[in-house]
């Protein structure tokens, strides 16, 4: 009997342990409502351009990988927004730890680069934890199934952060194109080197 209880406990622990790590492909994404650089609140579920889904990217101002991808993120938004998959960028960092990622500096950066997409501030750092984002940039591609947003791809934008012209595999672009064709992205999960999310609770 004791053994059964212990096994049950272990399974429970494993289950919640896994859940704490955020979304996996196939999970339904919860709504978020965060402040955009223009002062307005943006909510995923009410975002008008997201007719087929959304490309949610956790990114920031200071990280060299994030900076290297800025132009490519703008291009992706320009290309996919009209097709029903707009980019929604979210800065998950605590500005006390990364002063370049303050709300004011986000506004400046969005203007300088001419971001065509919302750039939201995850001030309470709850959204990135809910998603399970581990680094910047970190992409969660969501596709709409009726009213729900289903996580369809998690990972990186492509296989060369340094040089956009040397990219061989455009993981994110191919994933959105697959969804538009009614297929499942393959691969639906990739990794990349990135900056840790700056959080005072991080592994302490």
């Amino acid at each position: 009997m004791k053994k059964i209880v212990m096994t049950g406990l272990l399974i429970l622990v494993a289950f919640f342990g896994l859940n704490a790590q955020g979304y996996e492909v196939g999970d339904e994404a919860a709504n978020f409502k965060l402040k955009n650089v223009n002062g307005e609140m943006v909510s995923l579920f009410d975002y008008k351009d997201a007719t087929k889904g959304a490309i949610v990217i956790f990114t920031c101002n200071h990280c060299p990988y994030a900076i290297a991808y800025e132009d490519r993120i703008i291009e992706l938004d320009k290309f996919f927004s009209a097709k029903g998959y707009p980019v929604i960028a979210i800065n998950p960092n605590d500005p006390e730890l990364a002063p370049e990622d303050s709300y004011e500096k986000m506004i400046t950066r969005a203007k300088e680069k001419g971001f065509t997409f919302p750039y939201l501030f995850d001030e309470t750092q709850e959204v990135y934890k809910m998603y399970g984002a581990k680094r910047t940039p970190h992409v969660y591609l969501l596709s709409r199934v009726d009213k729900d947003f289903v996580v369809s791809y998690i990972g990186t934008i492509d296989d060369n952060y340094k040089d956009a012209s040397a990219v061989k595999k455009q993981y994110l672009r191919d994933a959105v194109l697959a969804l538009l064709d009614g297929n499942k992205p393959n691969p639906n999960f990739t990794k990349a080197i990135g900056c840790t999310i700056k959080d005072k609770e991080y592994k302490k």
Partner: protein, 159 residues
């Protein structure tokens, strides 16, 4: 005469490149991979970092101290820089002298990181800093920032 000039030219080129190439650059992970699988009696501490990565810079003194305390105990520390871009060698050289680093530094510059992150550890999301400690019989991976005591405690499990 022309030949001689050419000879001088090549000697000069060789001289300048060998002088400025202070840190080995691996632009292909497959050539770097053996450094994660050395089968001798040493303990290897491999830290993935970058000069611009704030938590990496913050934990660098812990690795310096580890070097001081364990250099005569068959412990090898390898600092694998993920830096990229202009003046790579100079940036790392000045970082090395400013932070008084004595451990070996190399540069891993293979941008297709999705193809190799799992080969370092399947537990690695890709965020830096990250540290791998291994011997021929044991292997532990940490995606976190270290204080000295914590790092020493992890290393001591291998001794």
């Amino acid at each position: 005469m022309k030949k001689l000039n050419l000879l001088f030219f090549f000697v000069f080129i060789n001289f300048t490149t060998s002088f400025s190439q202070e840190f080995e650059v691996y632009d292909d992970f497959t050539e770097f991979e053996f450094l994660l699988n050395q089968q001798d009696n040493k303990i290897y501490v491999i830290n993935f970092w970058a000069t611009w990565c704030r938590p990496c810079v913050k934990e660098m003194p812990a690795f310096n101290q580890l070097y001081e305390n364990f250099q005569d105990k068959d412990v090898e520390i390898l600092l694998v820089s993920m830096d990229f871009g202009k003046n790579l060698q100079n940036r790392i050289a000045s970082f090395k002298s400013n932070h008084n680093i004595k451990s070996k530094i190399i540069i891993l510059d293979d941008p297709d990181s999705n193809s190799w992150i799992d080969k370092v550890s399947s537990d690695w999301s890709g965020a830096i800093p990250a540290t791998l400690i291994y011997s021929k019989s044991k292997r532990e991976f940490f995606e976190r920032e270290f204080e000295y005591k914590e790092l020493e405690n992890e290393l001591k499990k291998f001794l």
